[in-house]
Symmetry: C2
């Protein structure tokens, strides 16, 4: 996802709690493997109410983390969803107990390929088992159980976060009062798998990757990871947004250089995106998390019938997409909505007019905020919170 | 571009002539540099008529070459435009004298970064001057002059070939009786520059690139070039075509591997595209030719007014685009058509319904063939050939 310099950071960052929960038990994975022990790093904002009915779980995207709001202590930058979380904002810590955890496979504190493999005493590297979106959700469910939370008022997330939201509704329908998948999908498309494969090949092509054992070599596949990020970043923006923001403008020069410097602003911007990303993200995590997204296909567990994933569900769904998102286009959300309708689920669907592309879910999109405010008020009321 | 296994190769390949013309004179480049000597490799099919009025120049795309028809002696595969060239096809060697030359900067015989630098006796590498689409056209014009051909019945090409076609009409309007830019553009967009930059960074990230001096090191940046090709290849196809062709189908397996093998057909296909490409293409040529495309912006030479490029032109234009092409979308062709209309040029425009994406121009597209047959018959008649 795009790194956002929130334009609302002056409003005062909100204070949350950052913790890591270590589980001595095993996390059973879809692959048949298991992780033991495993850790889940999370942040929370607001207070759990007496009957534990006001929890909102935020699921982050591919390169996100648990630092959704406030300041990110690892990057010293504002949380990635500061626009969404805070007093008076849709996810209001004065009303709700809000949790966001780093996914299993990640690199911000939850167990991932950079974690120590207890069998060897060294980082897992490629010995880390391949994880799935379902495994991410199972780890989140273990965390909530450990915190004594039986059910969620809402589970919300964009992009891969939206995938997790749908998987929550599939795996634990009785624990999900409402679900908000934004710019998501119930399966990863061929084009999206293709872009991920390019990113993985770029990382693996880097001589500093060392078959995933770069920690032992005290190197990092920085160039390969930067290329992966650059390629992915293009897919997060719309062509319109790129043209408006950069067009063919030159970077700090009056004329073409007739060389391979970053003549154009778009080149300079992409290089910056690539090389700042490698400061905060683990290359093997990028391999594992993209793989989890590629493997995601809820219908496959139900004989190809997506509706069966949501049969007899009491969950209230609010599905959101953006007109200019070509990575997780509206057609993917409509595919989900049709299945929910076929399953007789309670669903509302909003396609938001935006020219900002996939990353719109991270940006200041008033119509999205309005939609979410309305939906959350409604479910909070239904739950007896308002 | 996609490597095409022509389904019409059984119809008998046509025999052409393959030659290299060596110029002792200098080719003046837009950058202010020059190339001396320089070579232009070309193929031709058919015969020049007595009044030298039946020449069709084909301009190739980024990774194309002069072997548009017949068999490619370098790859042992059918020519990239066998669907278009041959008896009874739109570009008919029984009627026309057809020429296709490898672009300056290329790697199929024309002078490029892998050629020997006369000053050092070694391959140019990054000492090769940055070239432009205009330089490619100037080299083609020198070739035609050397062959005694004063004017072209038609200049035709797709993608970067379409850029050259428009540049021909801009640089040498008096020599262009008609022009057929297909899936082209008068400028490279921010998104397209971005994808090219990813490809270049992938090549430069490869330790075997050696700052462009890989020939001296007896290596090749194979992995980097393969990644560049994979990323680019996604942009040549439509999302619909990828879904129809591959979807989430698995490759030679019944279940997910829970590893990083090519589980999905789309992954296997992309890897194949990447690793076959490096057998036939020079990595530095990829850098230079993508740069030439990025620099392309005809209007920039005319104070931002594209129409001025075509004022007082007698050239007949046939502009062609494809509905599902998101790399050179119809909007880019319409931008050209509007400028041509504003310049009072003779222009027809056809947007062809196709779900095959940018590469449609290389494929069996009956409506494209019909359009080109009609247009070429008309201009041949106007020129007194029929």
């Amino acid at each position: 996802m795009q790194e956002i310099q929130s334009d609302k950071s002056d409003e005062g960052s909100i204070t949350g709690e950052s913790k890591v929960h270590v589980f001595d038990s095993a996390l059973q994975l879809v692959s048949g493997e298991s992780l033991q022990p495993f850790s889940v790093a999370y942040c929370s904002w607001g207070k759990l109410n007496a009957d534990k009915s006001n929890t909102i779980l935020i699921c982050h995207a591919l390169t996100g983390d648990q630092f959704a709001a406030g300041d990110n202590p690892m990057t010293q930058r504002p949380g990635w969803w500061n626009t969404m979380i805070g007093p008076g904002k849709p996810l209001d810590p004065e009303k709700y107990f809000i949790i966001c955890s780093n996914v299993i496979g990640g690199c911000s504190g939850s167990t991932g390929p950079a974690s120590i493999n207890p069998e060897t005493g060294k980082p897992y590297g490629l010995d880390f088992p391949v994880i799935t979106i379902t495994d991410m959700v199972r780890a989140q469910e273990k965390l909530l159980e450990a915190l004594g939370i039986d059910s969620l008022l809402t589970v919300i997330g964009g992009s891969m976060g939206g995938m997790q939201v749908l998987e929550w509704a599939n795996s634990f329908p009785e624990k999900v009062f409402s679900a908000i998948p934004i710019a998501g999908s119930a399966r990863h498309s061929a084009q999206n798998i293709a872009f991920h494969e390019v990113g993985r090949q770029a990382i693996m092509a880097d001589i500093d990757w060392h078959g995933g054992d770069y920690h032992a070599e005290k190197t990092q596949p920085r160039k390969g990871l930067a290329v992966a990020r650059m390629a992915a970043h293009i897919t997060y923006l719309s062509e319109t947004a790129l043209t408006r923001k950069f067009g063919r403008n030159l970077q700090d020069r009056d004329a073409l250089s007739y060389g391979f410097e970053a003549d154009f602003q778009i080149e300079s911007y992409l290089r910056h995106q690539g090389f700042t990303f490698v400061e905060r993200f683990d290359a093997n995590s990028y391999l594992y998390i993209t793989r989890a997204m590629d493997y995601f296909d809820i219908a496959a567990e139900h004989n190809g019938k997506l509706a069966e994933a949501f049969t007899n569900s009491d969950t209230r769904f609010c599905v959101v997409s953006f007109t200019s998102d070509w990575l997780f286009p509206t057609s993917e959300s409509i595919h989900v909505v049709r299945a929910l309708n076929a399953a007789g689920a309670n669903v509302s669907f909003v396609e938001i007019e935006s020219d900002k592309g996939h990353d719109a879910f991270l940006l200041d999109e008033p119509e999205m905020f309005k939609t979410l405010n309305g939906f959350l008020s409604s479910v909070a009321k239904d739950r007896g919170l308002l």
